[in-house]
Symmetry: C2
Subunit: 241 residues, 2 copies
């Protein structure tokens, strides 16, 4: 039996809108299913079981064939996202892609650990702050870092809604001082799943950004990155870009 | 005689809005004077000789005292900007700061080379595309890279107004394939120097970003970064942030 990957959507090339790879061309492979259910989740269509009938079981070969087609066969960074893509068996896909010069970046909350983390090029760990309603298992988060090892570019990315979230980010950063950390204002107008075209609130995003910049400076926090979700500024909550 | 630095403004901490350090806390040291006069310059107050009476000659010690005060004595990245800061004698300032744990990033068009480039932590070379009205001297640009050497993080940042600028960026990138490259839509509504509060055109910026993302993808250009001027989104053309 071949392990299949539960796919919500494959799209791109577009640019990565978040974190360490912001602004870089990428193809997204978004898997379906998540062990979390964050209050402000902005990709419910890949998370909520209600949408499971929209998720397609695909072989690694078929997924990579789609990636190759979208990218015209020219190697690109593949962003493995979700949902929580760590649920899926992605090791085979990574090996197929590496053989052709593609690279792979995984984004996961750090609640599920896999051996294939060591095969990644980039690992973004995004443990969820208090406003998400989720708890952080630091043993598992640490194990993600350990299992990935020294050959993977690892960074932290934390969504911030409020002061409690900010303090959480400070704590996480203090636990893992060796990891670059990216703070990102929460998408405070996540899309209703039936209307992705709704106008976003750019002024609200920027005012949250300014608050975060000032808040970090109050603590003289200097080795931090504060970035908006660039794709939301560019395309709103539209899917597939 | 002590060499003085011609200062236009020193401000921060704020976050770096452009290029490789986007989103990172920094203090700006903006020097006055420029050997270029780009058509779309958005810092004329530090470029045009008309404003030279607003520029203050300061010793490296006095500049660093201001940086230390602004940063509360907690080391931070110092962004050396202009005008063209390569005109100024900045080696002493860099040494003073390094002794206290500060880091230094220089942004320059690459038309003037100094030995102290080798002492920088970060060097952003921003040769100017055709729409600027300026010409690129590639011998000098190459010499900047050589003089900085292997211990400096060097990247290219190119402002893009139109197709000719984009093709120029492609050429520059092909000449220096080892350097990360950042493309940035031109600030198409640069501030009149007497009214920094004028509303910026966010929709225009984002539509230029989308064009650039699509343009790069037409060429299947994959090792590129496409980023807006984050500080303009956050604070408009206001000075001192």
């Amino acid at each position: 039996m071949v392990a299949t990957i539960r796919i919500s959507e494959i799209f791109g090339p577009t640019i990565q809108g978040e974190g360490a790879l912001i602004g870089q061309p990428t193809v997204f492979v978004r898997t379906g299913g998540c062990d979390y259910r964050c209050s402000w989740c902005d990709t419910l269509h890949a998370v909520d079981n209600e949408f499971r009938h929209d998720w397609t079981p695909m072989s690694a070969e078929d997924v990579f064939a789609d990636v190759e087609k979208l990218s015209g066969g020219v190697p690109i960074m593949v962003s493995l996202s979700g949902g929580n893509p760590a649920i899926q068996p992605l090791g085979g896909l990574i090996n197929l892609g590496h053989a052709k010069g593609y690279k792979f970046a995984l984004e996961t909350q750090g609640s599920i650990v896999k051996d294939w983390f060591a095969d990644l090029d980039v690992l973004t760990l995004s443990p969820k702050p208090p406003s998400s309603g989720m708890d952080t298992d630091y043993d598992l988060l640490t194990e993600c870092i350990t299992r990935a090892g020294d050959n993977v570019d690892i960074s932290l990315k934390i969504v911030i809604q409020d002061e409690a979230d900010y303090l959480y980010a400070r704590q996480v950063s203090a636990r893992y001082p060796e990891l670059p950390i990216y703070l990102q204002p929460v998408n405070h107008t996540p899309p209703p799943v039936d209307n992705m075209d709704e106008k976003i609130d750019i002024d609200g995003i920027m005012s949250r950004m300014r608050w975060l910049v000032e808040r970090a400076e109050q603590d003289q926090w200097r080795d931090v990155h504060i970035l908006p979700q660039l794709h939301v500024l560019l395309w709103g909550n539209k899917r597939g870009v």
